[in-house]
């Protein structure tokens, strides 16, 4: 049973079939076998959040998930956030506008976490944003730009819904 087994999963809309050992993590499989280099491995132990992806509709720290557990699953990574024509996701644009990254290593995880937050709670207040992002560690920015970016994306999404004609 320690022998490699074949799994199939969809990554950012593309189907992949690969052979993995039980101990291979989803993070490793995504990066090394599916070409999703946007998935970052920081601590490799589930603390830093850099490896956060969307797994079957909910965020997961891909370094804490075995690849074999993702057999048959649908995974979205940061590389699937932008539109097919390259137009940035509003969160990505907000991160640019608010200078919410320096080295960029935590950014993929931050974006995936923020995307889930705003999807579940479009009206998330500052406390909710801080709480949701508290598991994503950043060594560079001091977090303020990241918080501003998430607030901006939240506010711009709100403004965009149903108020355009009133202006």
């Amino acid at each position: 049973m320690a022998e490699p087994r074949t799994i199939a999963l969809t990554v950012d809309g593309e189907r992949h079939e690969l052979t993995v050992e039980p101990r291979d993590t989803l993070a490793e499989a995504l990066r090394e076998r599916c070409g999703a280099l946007g998935v970052r491995v920081g601590c490799g132990e589930g603390h830093c959040g850099a490896c956060t992806v969307d797994l079957d509709g909910a965020t997961a720290r891909s370094c804490t998930v075995l690849a074999v557990q993702a057999d048959g699953a649908s995974v979205r990574t940061v590389e699937g956030l932008a539109a097919p024509d390259g137009e940035l996701h509003p969160l990505q644009q907000a991160f640019v506008t608010e200078h919410a990254l320096q080295c960029g290593f935590c950014t993929a995880g931050m974006l995936m976490t923020a995307e889930e937050l705003l999807r579940e709670r479009p009206d998330a207040d500052d406390d909710a944003i801080r709480a949701a992002l508290s598991g994503n560690l950043c060594r560079c920015t001091g977090y303020q730009g990241i918080l501003r970016a998430v607030r901006r994306a939240r506010d711009e999404a709100g403004t965009g819904n149903g108020q355009g004609d009133a202006r």
């Binding site: 049973m1 320690a2 087994r5 050992e21 039980p22 101990r23 291979d24 993590t25 490793e28 490799g44 132990e45 589930g46 603390h47 959040g49 956060t52 797994l55 909910a58 965020t59 997961a60 720290r61 370094c63 804490t64 998930v65 075995l66 074999v68 557990q69 976490t113 889930e116 937050l117 709480a131 949701a132 508290s134 598991g135 994503n136």
Partner: protein, 314 residues
């Protein structure tokens, strides 16, 4: 770092799972949010399973269901996030919903399970102490179709606090060592049942973590009953939850307590509420002090909050 090698199995039934677990070096894989990081860290003395038994494919294990007596049954694969947001849990066991919201981060709660947190028995974790506070009972499956139940308190080895004198000065101690549960090889927890709670009961969970939202240093569950008794269960002051029974000098006023309860009401809880010591044995004076502060805070929050039947879900 790279995980150590192990076998992996994904059984389709409980009996298949327990047969696999009877292999001495096998461990259950549920959410994996405690186990996989522990494997990655490769700490000395940490887990080195030869086989991981993944419960994912066993049907029905993720159910959260109401019981006819007013209790609630939480399956082994029910995710912490689902429990946190469940209207049924908010209504029948609000203390569990409140405490679960403090576990880890949204992405870990999406994967981690409530039952798994109990079985892992991390000394400072929320679920083990809340399970003891709510008189939870575990349904256990064993090899050959064996089935039994055990209270969370029995499984964890929860113990009552004994009166102590104020802690003598000593160097800060290492955290309590995790010692696991009383499950025997081949056994796994199938579900956790929380019996019906009194409608007049008031509860609260408070914890202190040096880094907010991280694993707590000390946590306290408070359950206050209408007859003026209260139970406190402490996480992080020993390998297993530590319980403290308190008695008020008078029954609580009926109805909702508005504002901060009178100091006299807190002081009316006799027992180990001496300002210098909670009477809760702790590895060091810091944890003892924090435990005392959190105990008062938990009681105040429970008294201030709505009775269980009024608790809103969010």
């Amino acid at each position: 770092m790279t995980l150590p090698p192990f076998d992996y199995a994904r059984p389709a039934s409980l009996d298949e799972a327990t047969d696999l677990l009877a292999r001495g070096d096998a461990r259950v894989l549920a959410g994996g949010q405690s186990l996989v990081p522990a494997l990655a860290a490769r700490l000395p003395g940490g887990p080195r399973p030869g086989l991981l038994v993944d419960l994912y494919a066993i049907p029905g294990l993720d159910a959260i269901e109401p019981l006819p007596d007013g209790g609630v049954r939480i399956g082994a694969m029910a995710r912490q996030r689902t429990v946190e947001l469940s209207p049924l849990i908010a209504q029948r066991a609000p203390l569990l919903a409140e405490a679960t919201a403090w576990i880890g981060h949204p992405s870990t709660r999406n994967r981690g399970t409530v039952v798994g947190s109990l079985a892992y028995a991390e000394p400072a974790a929320e679920i083990p102490s809340v399970a003891v506070a709510l008189d939870a009972v575990a349904e256990i499956a064993g090899p050959g179709g064996a089935r039994r139940t055990a209270t969370a308190a029995e499984l964890l080895g929860a113990s009552p606090a004994t009166p102590t004198t104020p802690a003598a000065p000593q160097a800060p101690a290492n955290p309590p060592v995790r010692r696991g549960t009383a499950l025997t090889p081949g056994e796994l927890i199938v579900a956790l049942t929380i019996p019906a709670r009194s409608a007049a009961e008031r509860t609260a969970w408070v914890e202190h973590a040096p880094r907010r939202y991280d694993l707590p240093l000390v946590g306290v569950a408070a359950v206050v009953r209408a007859d003026g008794t209260a139970r406190l269960v402490f996480a992080g002051v020993g390998p297993a939850p530590v319980t403290l029974q308190l008695r008020s000098s008078a029954p609580l006023r009926g109805g909702r307590t508005t504002g901060v309860p009178a100091v006299a009401e807190l002081r009316s809880f006799e027992g180990h509420m001496d300002p210098e010591s909670t009477g809760v044995p702790a590895p060091d004076p810091l944890r003892a002090r924090i435990a005392g502060t959190l105990a008062r805070r938990a009681l105040r929050q429970a008294l201030r909050g709505p009775a269980r039947t009024e608790a809103a879900h969010g």
